[in-house]
Structures are given as C-alpha cells and as structure tokens.
Amino acid sequence: MADNIKTSSYDALVIGAGIAGGEAALNLANNGYSVLLVEKDLSVGGKMILLSKVFPTLDCAACITTPKVSEISRHPGITIYTGSEVRRVVKKSENNFEAEVVKHPRYVIEDDCTACQLCEQACPVVVKDQYQYNLVGRKAAFIPFSIASPRVAAIDIENCTLCGACEKVCPTKCIDFTMEPEEFLVSVGTVIVATGFRLFDPLNMPRYGYGEYKNVLTSMEMERQLAPTRPFNTILRPGDGKMPDKLAYVLCTGSRDATVGNPICSQICCMYSIKQAQLLMGALPMADVTIYYINIRSFGKGFEEFYEQAKGMGVNFIKGKIGKITEKENGNLVLRYEDINENRLREAEHDMVILSVGVLPNPDAASIFQGEELKLDHLNFIGQARPLANPSETSIKGVFVAGTASGPMDIPDSILSAGSASSEAMSYLIRKG
C-alpha cells in the first residue's frame, strides 16, 4: 500500500448522498453508528435539492431538503466526502468490508472558504452551469448552487485558465491549486448503496427534436425554470427568450417504450408533469398547458385529487401518443399525434414542448464490488435479493440498497426505502453477520 493512502474505519459506508443516502446515513448516525457518506457531486442533496416543489402537496422542495441536508452535514457521527468516489469494495468477511475511496481535489480549502463568492465574480471564464441544466452559464470558480452543502467554492479545473484572478481576491487565501487527489482505505461493517437514477436522454429519440429545436426542453430544465433559484427572471423559451403561452408536455418520453430500452413505467413522470403544469398556470396565468398522455397513473395517496385539481385549474389533458415534433420558422413546434380516444391522427401547434423524461438505472455501483458480485436485476437496477420479503437486501449479505438505485420511486418511497435499508444495516451490525 502506498504511503500517501490514509486509513480509517467506520461502522457503515453509504454510497451516494441524495435524499435516500442522506436519510440512511442519518438513521444510522442517530443510533450511534459512525458513517462515511461518499458523494460524487460537489454537494449533498442529489436531484431533490434542485427541484422546485414536490407533489402532491406543492411544498417547496428546498424547504424540505435544506433542513435535512443541514442535519446530515452537522451530525457528529457522519463524515461526508463530496467530490469523491468509491473505487472498490471488497467483502473480507462478515461485518468486514474494505473500500477504496478517492477524494478529488476541489482546489479550495473547505474549512477556510466563507462562500463570499468574490472568486466567482473575479473569474473571467464562463461555461455551462450543469446545476441549471445548461440553461445559463457559471464561472470556472463557482459555488455549485445557492443552497449547496457544503456551501463552499470549487474550481472547475478542466475549464480554468489558471489566471490566478480568484486567488488574488480571496480574502482567506483558501484557493489552493497544489491540491492532489486523496486516497483512503476504509474499513466498514456494512455498506448501503444509494446511487440513485439517471434521467433518460431524449437525444436518443431524434423524432422529438430535442437538442435541435431549442424550445423543446426536458422536465428537469423546466423544473429549474420553475425553481426559486431559476436561471431566468421568469419562464422563457431558451430558443429566443419569448414568454411561452401554449405549452405541451409529452409524457412517457423514454418510459414504457421498449424501442429505447426502457419498457417500464417511471412512476413519477405523470405526477411531476401535473405538478409543473399547475406551477406554470400560476407563473403564466394566461398560458394554455396541455399534457399528452397514454395513461395517467395517479396511484399514490392524494395523487388522483392532485390530477383532478390540475383539470380544475384548466390544464388540458389529451390521450395521445406523439409521433413526431417539427419546428416552424418562428420557433413554434408542431406535434403530430395519435388521438387515442378518437383513433385519428392530429396535429397541434405549441410554442414550447416539455419532454417528461423517465427514470433509468444507474448500474455503475455494481462494478465497484469485487469478489462477491453485486447483482443487477433484468432492468439493470441494483437487484433486490428478496423484493417482497426484504426489499433492501442485495445479492451480498451486509450490502443494502436504498432509494431509486433499486428502481423508480418517488421521494416518500425513497425515504421509506432508506429507512428500511438503514434498519437492516443496523440489524446486520448487531447480529455480527
């Protein structure tokens, strides 16, 4: 083992600090277990922290996430590595796992950064802001987003021109370009995999024109436009800055579609689209919002009422399957669709189209387990050894799965799943294997 590898031990390793990983870590730590929480991104909070509001209550997502994230970040029993990845996990014996973790350099000394953003103002470089889904730019020296945790600057070293402007203005001299990756060898008693999901990339459906037609957005791009920390001052078409007044949602984009390799329902798209439609009716009172759907799946508590509420607000629902989207010279979009109820082909013009993209597996976690195999299910989500009897068990005893790493689910179910995984992990630690 190289001299510069640091060693440490914890009761549990949680991979992924989204809402499920964070909840699982918090449950373990509140019961006296030490936890290492590893997150590849620069902030804790996963995708939820970037949402506008949540369905069906329309509560502010940040208002729910931020206190939880703060509790996780301040808990003395939880050590958090952001901008880090777990490279390898090996099960040596029961209650004895060994993990290799790499912490990538942030080029900012976290403890010294006051989040004053002077470095951000001084930085001359602008690149696409991935936290705003590329709708606007950010600097190469940047705070990921206003409610990021830790709220600490980072340097995007790939795009930095090393001009030194950030260092010159930093009042605490916390920017340090001599930082190198840090490697850790960690011993843990149990592992929870909470690596979340990926969103379907609509570039894989060229007939919808995403990427080519600038007024075709994904639902996450619209989510950012609706959030309080939105990229624009209001809802705008990214193609020309026009305020839209005739918007369309295309449900099941990349879900329930075997032709794109995802035959299952993503479970959240109907409701998040209905949520966004309601928020749009509030933000753009004169706008027409139409949702094109195959079936509305309002299966959860309060979901059907939420759907009825949207209809009552004037959201137009059309049972129709979109064949193709084409763009007019003025940037408007023509949707050619099968009207399922009338059994006819129709066309409709809208000035903005939002693709309700589905949930895809994130199978990367499986490859880090060496020795015993972490099995995936037939859809490439983390396999559940006993999905009915114990949904958090995986193919490796002592490794548990939490949240959407095991399949599509909404936020309350992710938190429930994290509760189950953390309870099982504690039980495993107490039983000693």
């Binding site: 730019g137 030194g164 920017i175 340090d176 370009f177 193609g239 020309d240 800055g241 305020m243």
Partner: protein, 93 residues
C-alpha cells in the same frame, strides 16, 4: 516539489500541467461575445430577438450569454413588450 506560495498557487499548476487550448478558446469566445452584447446594449434597451439580429447570433446563444450576464450583474431585465412576449434588457447601472 517546490512549495508554492499561498495565494499564488495558480502559477504552480500552470507550470506543471499548462492550460488546455479548449479552455483558452472558450475564454476568448466568451470575452468576445460579452463585449459585443454589452456594446450593443450601450445603444439602448433591446430584446433578445433584436440582439440576435444585430449581432447575427442565434437566439439560443443570445439567451445563454445574456442570461449569464444578468446572473453576474452586468445586465438587468427591463420592461416586457405590449404583447407580453419579449422582455427588453439593459446595462446595469
């Protein structure tokens, strides 16, 4: 390894690994576009469509760069037109 002076470490990494051509080109592009947008707005408030025509730049690029300048406080949003379609933008005083 020679120890870099605290607060002047960018030179250390620049000497060690250099700066990619892509990063340099990206900076040049943004600097050029930023100047052209700010110069155009010196003449008065403009909508994105007007800026796009004046600068011969695609609308989506104007939206991206203009909104970035709004975010970083160099440009501010003005009034919306009579049709409630397009905002105008002006230099921040």
């Amino acid at each position: 390894m020679e120890e870099a002076e605290k607060g002047k470490t960018s030179r250390y990494l620049r000497d060690k690994k250099g700066v990619s051509e892509e990063a340099r080109e990206n900076l040049k592009k943004f600097t050029r576009i930023r100047k052209s947008i700010l110069d155009a707005l010196k003449e008065g408030e403009m909508t994105i469509a007007q800026l796009s025509q004046k600068l011969s730049m695609p609308g989506h690029e104007v939206v991206f760069y203009l909104m970035t300048l709004v975010k970083y406080g160099q440009v501010q949003t003005g009034e919306i037109d009579d049709m409630d379609e397009y905002y105008s933008y002006k230099l921040k005083k």
